[in-house]
């Protein structure tokens, strides 16, 4: 419990320093710069049950891209969050997931190359359990899972284009799924592969003026 609080504290502190930085740059430079979020825990594995299967708390981590901060679980039914993370599943605040104006689609290409969201883009909303705006499953959206090595690898060249709860736009590139932002070696122990996964490192740009241009 104590360690969890420590982790949260680390994330909050990192986030605050990033916000500070971003605000400064906002006022000086016109182009938006990416914010990096490190080690955002998303329902991390707590241990191995007696039946040999890993278990976790089973709770989403809610995140506001607008505020660049974790939103408490008590606000899950609000429009304060833009994305919610739960192992490799990513929700947006609309449809079956929330009451906001959210939505998303996966853009194939480079983060920096996506300067304007194409006008013919279709934002999807969550329709659990049949479909999600950010598709869930190996090779379907933003990651692959290798059964032989039990490792999750975010696909390069995938950008999650997000419509936030308030109807503004953001783009996200997920960079890593393991603690410390480094994918474990194939030969890592099964215990490490379980305990160090579900820590997101990602970069994002939120456009506060409501336009589709970053």
């Amino acid at each position: 419990m104590l360690t969890t609080i420590k982790k949260m504290a680390t994330i909050v502190i990192t986030s605050i320093s990033i916000i500070g930085c971003t605000k400064n740059q906002d006022t000086i430079l016109a182009p938006l710069t990416a914010t990096v979020v490190k080690d955002l825990a998303a329902d991390t594995v707590l241990g191995i049950a007696s039946n040999g299967m890993p278990y976790s708390a089973g709770k989403y981590t809610f995140y506001s891209l607008e505020k660049n901060a974790i939103v408490p679980n008590t606000d899950s039914a609000s429009t304060k969050w833009d994305i919610a993370l739960y192992s490799t599943k990513i929700l947006t605040n609309a449809g079956t997931s929330g009451t906001g104006m959210g939505g998303a689609f996966v853009y194939t290409g480079l983060f920096d190359d996506l300067k304007t969201i194409p006008t013919d883009s279709v934002f999807k909303t969550d329709n659990a359990p049949a479909s999600y705006a950010v598709p869930y499953g190996s090779g379907k959206g933003w990651y692959t899972y290798d059964q032989a090595t039990s490792l999750v690898t975010p696909l390069a060249g995938r950008v999650l284009v997000i419509r936030t709860a308030s109807g503004k736009y953001a783009k996200i590139e997920i960079m890593n799924y393991y603690k410390g932002g480094v994918t474990l070696p194939l030969t890592a122990s099964a215990a490490d592969k379980l305990s160090k996964q579900r820590y997101y490192t990602f970069r994002f740009i939120f456009q506060s003026n409501g336009s589709k241009t970053f």
């Binding site: 480079l110 290798d146 690898t153 060249g157 960079m175 194939l186």
Partner: protein, 676 residues
């Protein structure tokens, strides 16, 4: 002993049969051929086919489903393995385990590089490896006993009877190893305890001066003690049990010579490979895996000397084969295929310095489309020192039974299914009727009758022999492969588990160069070696990379476009390989050798998920292994040999499970020398 004129006379070791399906001197061949003779096999202390092939230029051993051989960058599926010209069957996932073949009575091994389907049909896309046993020995009896690390025991008895009209040879081999574990604290052994028994019985009867009959039976029995751990999603399942393999081959050949211009040979060949894996998990669940492959072939080949500088070969045959497997819809029902084929080859020497060979083969199949395989090759002897060879040919590999009939659902790993292309349509329709199909992709509508995979290969060779003690050879090759059969996802169950089948979609190439040399330095001392460069690639992936639609990550973890300089080609391929061998032989029977083998890194796993093998993926490290052996053959028939393999104790348990650490062996031999 009288030797018939139409039997193969091993003049030195320079006669090759595999390249043209007729006896030709190595120096007159139009295609690149490597010969490994019995002396090399003995002096390196090789027991199984794998042991000697791994030291040959241009060949790489693979692990996974047994020890297979990769030839000029092409996977084990694409090389035909023959014993005395008859194909071995019993491949798992396309790999024929070369540890099955004992080398005790092998006279020589011929390796033909380049597409050879014009003579051998399906599978001979990369080349052909023909193991030729001794059918003329005059040694009445010989024994060999060997003991080595990991309690590896090998016993061989070879005896022969000769009379004016009759020849008999019997070979028996027993091999047993305790196996080894090179992973610390692992319950499972990388190589499990194995017992193998092989016998090869050969009878030859000279009916008259122009006719002889050959009957050969080979039988191999193998028992493997399995102790397997399978990890999936952090859950490890241990199971143990045995795997029993029974493999027999029966050949009957009638050779007849009508005249010095015309001879013919009728061959009938029957082989069966039967494997049964019977496992019990520690929790009590049982797992049985069966494979039974039956192959019967009759063939006639007629050789005609049209005129002094023009010879022709005509051949025709019929194959009936069938496979039963527990991985098909019914393990009782044998899936069958019939093949009828005909081939011809014409060899023309317009002038003494030039040889042209043109050949073609047509294979008509019941289960899939037919194939036509032409080949052209030539030799130009510029002078006594320089020789140029050129060949261009088409090879093919017919879809195998697994690609047609597999019906496999892996309950242990998420319930995914793989259906052979002949089964997929019906299986999915049936599942759909039960409401189990969640989604079908475009690939499903692309399902059609599988076509053979085709390769076009071009080989160039320049041989230089400045003096009898020096030989150099430079070779260039390129193979272009189309119609590659690849596993593709067709859709998914309602549960989300994936459904796969096979489609003809891939295009690939392998290209490179080889350099070989031999030098007799003194009467006793010689050195030989080689270097090979192999570059491979998936043509569709290269198109995508050039179009800028393949991505990887930079050092900061940000995505960037993959460039061609990041691309490494096909997995499990080393770009550089080299061999260096030092040999010492004395007239008194003393011999010693040291062999250095080098292989550069190879891609093993697509870790960055972009489907393309590039510098951002995981590789097995390149390595050098060193082997040495010393021995003496005494005039009274006794022989003794000791050896050490992998002297530097190089171990890579994950990527090289077939390479144990340093091992030692000692062999004792005795043979009754024949009296003239």
């Amino acid at each position: 002993m009288k030797v018939l004129k139409d039997t193969i006379q091993w003049q030195g070791d320079s006669v090759v049969v595999t390249a043209t399906r007729s006896e030709r001197k190595l120096s007159n061949l139009t295609v690149p051929v490597t010969i490994i003779n019995a002396k090399t096999i003995q002096q390196t202390g090789s027991l199984r086919l794998t042991d000697i092939l791994k030291e040959q230029p241009g060949l790489t051993m693979t692990s996974g489903f047994g020890a297979g051989v990769q030839l000029q960058g092409l996977n084990p599926d694409y090389t035909t393995i023959l014993i005395n010209g008859e194909p071995l069957v019993g491949r798992t996932a396309g790999v024929l385990d070369l540890n099955r073949i004992a080398l005790g009575n092998v006279k020589k091994i011929e390796i033909v590089k380049g597409p050879s389907s014009s003579l051998y049909g399906s599978e001979a896309m990369a080349g052909v490896i023909n193991i030729i046993t001794d059918q003329n020995t005059t040694i009445p009896i010989q024994f060999s006993a060997r003991y080595g690390t990991y309690q590896t025991k090998d016993l061989s008895v070879d005896h022969a009877l000769n009379s004016k009209s009759f020849f008999y040879q019997g070979f028996y081999n027993y091999y047993n190893t305790d196996g080894y574990s090179i992973r610390p604290n692992s319950l499972s052994r990388v190589t499990t305890p194995i017992t193998r028994f092989t016998t090869h019985q050969q009878f030859k009867y000279h009916i008259n001066d122009n006719t002889n009959l050959l009957l050969a039976i080979r039988y191999t029995k193998e028992q493997i003690q399995n102790d397997i751990s399978v990890s999936n999603g952090g859950v490890t399942i241990h199971s143990n049990g045995t795997e029993n393999i029974n493999d027999y081959n029966v050949t009957a050949t009638l050779n007849h010579r009508f005249s010095s211009q015309l001879k013919t040979s009728f061959r009938s060949y029957l082989t069966q490979y039967d494997s049964k894996q019977d496992l019990l998990t520690l929790s009590g669940g049982s797992y049985i895996d069966l494979l039974n492959h039956l192959f019967h072939r009759i063939e006639n080949q007629t050789d005609w000397v049209v005129q002094k500088n023009l010879t022709a070969i005509f051949g025709a045959g019929s194959v009936i084969e069938g496979v039963k497997s527990s991985r098909y819809d019914s393990e009782q029902l044998r899936k069958t295929n019939n093949i009828q084929y005909a081939f011809t080859q014409w060899e023309w020497l317009p002038i003494k310095k030039m040889t042209f060979i043109v050949g073609a083969r047509f294979d008509q199949n019941a289960a899939f489309a037919s194939a036509f395989s032409p080949k052209f090759s030539m030799l130009y002897k510029i002078n006594t020192i320089h020789k140029l060879k050129m060949s261009i040919g088409q090879g093919f590999k017919a879809p195998d039974f697994r690609q047609l009939y597999l019906n496999f659902t892996n309950a242990a790993a998420g319930g995914y299914s793989v259906f052979g292309s002949a089964q997929a349509q019906k299986a999915i329709t049936d599942l759909n009727g039960l409401g189990q199909i969640g989604i079908l992709y475009d690939n499903y509508y692309q399902l059609k009758i599988l076509q053979p995979e085709y390769s076009t290969g071009v080989h160039l060779a320049w041989d230089i022999e400045p003096n009898p003690s020096t030989f150099l050879s430079f070779q260039l090759f390129r193979n272009d492969i189309k119609n590659l059969i690849e596993v593709q996802q067709l859709g998914a169950y309602t549960s989300g588990a994936q459904i796969f089948s096979y489609l003809n979609i891939g295009r690939a190439f392998t290209t490179g160069g080889e350099f070989e040399f031999r030098k007799q330095i003194t009467n006793q001392f010689s050195i030989n070696g080689g270097y090979q460069l192999v570059i491979t690639g998936d043509k569709d992936q290269i198109t995508q990379i050039k179009a800028g639609t393949v991505y990887t990550r930079d050092a900061n973890g940000n995505s960037r476009r993959l460039t061609m300089s990041d691309y490494v080609g096909l997995p499990n391929n080393s770009k550089h390989k080299g061999q260096l061998k030092l040999n010492y032989t004395k007239e008194n029977g003393l011999f010693a050798n040291m062999r250095l083998l080098y292989r550069s890194r190879w891609a093993v796993n697509n870790t960055n998920g972009n489907q393309v093998f590039d510098n951002g993926d995981s590789f097995a490290d390149g390595y050098i292994s060193i082997h040495a052996s010393i021995g003496k053959n005494y005039k009274n028939g006794y022989g003794v040999q000791i050896g050490c393999d992998n002297i530097t104790n190089y171990i890579d348990a994950v990527h090289l499970p077939n390479l144990p650490g340093r091992t030692f062996f000692m062999t004792l031999k005795y043979q009754i020398n024949h009296k003239k």
